[in-house]
Symmetry: C2
Subunit: 121 residues, 2 copies
């Protein structure tokens, strides 16, 4: 995945475990798209200092995910819900076309996926 998006998600999940300074740097860089130089001016440290904080903060976020895997857990659930949504759209189309015989297996599949999510959660 694109690093910008990935860091945004990790920050969304684990950001509150960072130090105040790390949180601020990640927020300015990844959410508000400041440059390293701009962040340096904002919080009164050198560009290199900002870079070091940023790298340490990024590493911490990646380590939290390596340990806990909660972003992955969420993404897995989300993929399953996307399948449910697609199946539901299919069923609506089949209803319109009066192809009722094909609907039941799709409903059973939604049941199965829903139960999987509920049991894992």
């Amino acid at each position: 995945m694109e690093k910008l998006v990935e860091m945004g998600i990790l920050f969304d999940f684990y950001g509150k475990l960072l130090s105040e300074k790390q949180y601020r740097v990640i927020d300015l860089y990844y959410i508000n798209n400041f440059s390293l130089a701009e962040i340096g001016e904002e919080i009164n440290i050198s560009r290199q200092g900002v870079y070091d904080i940023l790298k340490r903060a990024e590493n911490r976020l990646v380590q939290y995910e390596d340990k806990l895997g909660l972003v992955k857990k969420f993404k897995d659930t989300n993929e399953k819900v996307k399948i449910i949504l697609n199946l539901t759209n299919d069923i609506m189309m089949l209803m319109e076309k009066k192809k009722l015989s094909e609907i039941n297996s799709k409903l059973q599949y939604i049941q199965k996926i829903s139960q999987e999510i509920i049991e894992e959660g």
Copy 2:
């Protein structure tokens, strides 16, 4: 919620952020149902020492959830998936009874809930 269940869930989510000793005590107490005295024998510290570790570990788990709220996030999603499952069961019953006119609104509701989950995730 029952404390035993709640701690089990918090431990499942955030346990890997505890120290090795805290992890072991919580695991023995909440997952393997050891008494404080039994844990004390197992890891060679006093019953009171075990109690102190347990309380500190419990507090840490609760604090992680206060900060990150990821258990709540999961539970919210799970509640929504339960609604989807119930709606799917309803639709299957309506199909059997040939009450087709009532199906579409339930399908639309599944669509709506699925989209909500996907957008939040």
